[in-house]
């Protein structure tokens, strides 16, 4: 990558990516986050092969076993077992599938719907804009987790409903971002030119304008990926997310709450998994912001 000339204006997609990567990799934290994230994706995809035990099988002769390096530990259960004898490490490995799945689904739904609403509001303006933005204001008036909780109460507690609720709660940020960038792009000359040459409204929205609004949306997607994981874990912790015996990390924490003083490891590891995943994604998000948004760069 070193042979790419330094100051060439990025005109091809490939050069854009190379240019982006050159900025991104200078941020050590972001690269570390990316490595962790890639590792997590591999673990999630290969869970069946990697996990030493089944995530839901209960080994009745090994209840609340401490981690292997502690007294009384057993190397066949490296991180110990929970109150009903399930292998903690295997549950954590399978749990990564849940967290990544939640992140991908929530971000995709919130992004697609939010971008469409934002494009419509920004392109057409007028009463459509007013209605969409007022609805977003109403969603934002409620604390996000509370609204998600209430939505789950309406829909019934389950992982899918928790994801729907979190996607709804995150919607307004995408709508606002898209609308703001669309409105500033609309007055640019290339949009004029496209209009004059008779480009249809739909094509104008999605093909001409949208690609130029992507930078803040990508950063927002990274940020809301981590928020989605945190919120889903919080809902799981409150008993309103994934339901037992699913090895979702927040749900695992909820199940182990009563053992915190007797068996701290059943609480420590799931939380550590949530924290490091969210941290890795936030590091990537910071790196993306620095590399994509020149205004905020190096600050």
């Amino acid at each position: 990558m070193a042979d790419v000339t330094q100051n060439s204006a990025p005109d091809t997609r490939f050069e854009l990516i190379v240019n982006f990567w050159r900025h991104f990799r200078t941020n050590k934290g972001a690269v570390a986050g990316l490595i962790f994230f890639v590792a997590l994706v591999i673990i999630a995809l290969g869970a069946v092969v990697i996990a030493p035990h089944s995530p839901i099988e209960q080994y009745r002769d090994a209840l609340l076993l401490p981690p292997a390096w502690q007294e009384g530990g057993d190397w066949s259960y490296i991180l110990g077992t929970d109150a009903v004898g399930r292998d903690l490490l295997s549950r954590l490995i399978y749990g990564s599938q849940f967290s990544l799945f939640i992140g991908v689904v929530v971000v995709s739904v919130a992004l697609v719907v939010g971008v469409c609403l934002g494009l419509v509001a920004g392109t057409f303006g007028g009463w459509i804009d007013t209605i969409i933005m007022r609805i977003m204001d109403i969603i934002l008036a409620f604390p996000s987790l509370l609204l998600a909780l209430v939505l789950v109460a309406i829909l019934g507690p389950s992982l899918i409903n928790a994801m729907i609720a979190i996607a709804i709660v995150q919607q307004p940020y995408y709508v606002r971002l898209t609308r703001a960038s669309v409105m500033s792009e609309m007055s640019r000359e290339y949009v004029m030119a496209a209009r004059v040459s008779g480009v249809g409204t739909l094509r104008l929205m999605f093909v001409t304008v949208l690609p130029n609004c992507m930078a803040p949306l990508i950063v927002q997607a990274a940020l809301s990926f981590s928020t989605a994981i945190l919120d889903a874990a919080a809902l799981g912790f409150l008993g309103m997310g994934a339901q037992a015996p699913d090895p979702e990390w927040g749900t695992m924490l909820a199940e182990s709450r009563e053992f915190i003083l007797r068996a701290p490891w059943v609480v420590t590891f799931p939380g550590l998994a949530i924290l490091s995943t969210v941290l890795a994604i936030n590091l990537i998000g910071d790196g993306l912001r620095d590399a994509l948004d020149p205004k905020l760069k190096r600050s």
Partner: protein, 336 residues
């Protein structure tokens, strides 16, 4: 200024109507019959059902129901809890001070630690100290606070035995609620032991609830300071030979604070969301725990009323922050 206030209030009206609609339709969106939901687990006889139907106005058209709901709202009638049979507003008012007390302590903790941390990071930009502070801030920002609370309980309550696990005050004391703020009430009751107990109950929840705002404030302070430190007037102040402390502490900080104050104001919503988790972990008898418990008990009038009150409070606080922003930032005031 008065015109500005009215203008902003006017903008809030549609949002507030939307919020009342949301809370009005909440009970109607729940799967199942609203009367059976309101009656709770025991169910009702058919005669009583029809009586309730009329009493709650479910026999009338929806828009009429909504109008009478609004009318009740403005008279302070948020309905009655199914479980305790108490008016929802009254319950809210008794529990609200506990949440406010915790939130104020959390935000003070966040500012007292976060602001200096951000300033230090900005001044030592690029140095190890900067990296350490910013990494710690990002860890705090990424923290699942429900786990953080459990960890603190394991360490400080379990291993060290320094702090209590739950509640607002030791059961040994009974303090007459005057203001509802335990710290003030124990002082008013002139019981130093009770005050100490209240403080020790408050420490861990404060840290847990304050962690994310702290991280946000530290990050925001740093970037605001960095922006200001490059400005001409800071260079002028340095050129005049002012001490480093005066330049940073007075000239730079005063201007850097403007965006930071907004961020602090915007943390109110975050605090409420955090209070739900924090209060659940520490059995803190505030609004957050009340809402979660009510959702689980299917005490829907409470959920409905609480939802509305919380949204209204968040909106009012955001309005105040907005106005204060105009007051402290002349640029904004003049463009209005």
């Amino acid at each position: 200024m008065l015109r500005l206030i009215f203008k902003k209030l006017g903008l809030l009206v549609p949002t507030f109507i939307g919020v009342t609609l949301t809370s009005f339709f909440f009970i109607r969106l729940l799967p199942g019959d609203p009367i059976l939901l309101l009656a709770g687990e025991r169910g009702v006889s058919p005669e009583r059902y029809n009586e309730l139907m009329v009493q709650f106005g479910y026999d009338k058209p929806v828009w009429e129901q909504y109008l009478s709901y609004l009318g009740n709202l403005f008279q302070g009638d948020l309905g009655v809890s199914i479980v305790t049979k108490q008016p929802v507003l009254q319950e809210f008012m008794t529990l609200f001070p506990a949440t406010v007390e915790l939130s104020i302590c959390a935000i003070i903790f966040a500012v007292v630690v976060g602001l200096p941390a951000g300033i230090i990071a900005a001044v030592k930009r690029g140095k190890t100290l900067d990296h350490t502070v910013m990494t710690t801030a990002l860890v705090g920002y990424s923290m699942p606070i429900f786990w953080w609370g459990l960890l603190l309980i394991i360490f400080f309550s379990g291993i060290l035995g320094w702090t209590p696990v739950s509640g607002r005050i030791s059961l040994l004391y009974w303090i007459e609620p005057v203001t509802g703020f335990m710290l003030i009430d124990t002082l008013l009751a002139d019981e130093p032991g009770a005050f100490a107990s209240a403080v020790s109950h408050l420490i861990l929840p404060t840290v847990v609830l304050g962690t994310i705002p702290l991280a946000v404030i530290a990050r925001q302070t740093r970037s605001a300071m960095l922006e200001v430190l490059d400005e001409d007037y800071v260079r002028t102040a340095r050129a005049k030979g002012l001490s480093n402390f005066r330049v940073i502490g007075i000239h730079a900080l005063r201007n850097a604070l403007i965006p930071v104050i907004t961020i602090i104001g915007l943390q109110i919503g975050v605090l409420f969301a955090g209070a739900i988790l924090t209060e659940s972990i520490f059995s803190w008898p505030g609004i957050g725990k009340w809402m979660v418990d009510s959702i689980f008990r299917r005490d829907y009038p409470v959920v409905q009323g609480g939802l509305l009150m919380i949204a209204a409070i968040v909106m009012i606080v955001n309005l105040i922050v907005d106005l204060m922003y105009g007051l402290i930032n002349p640029k904004i005031r003049h463009t209005e």
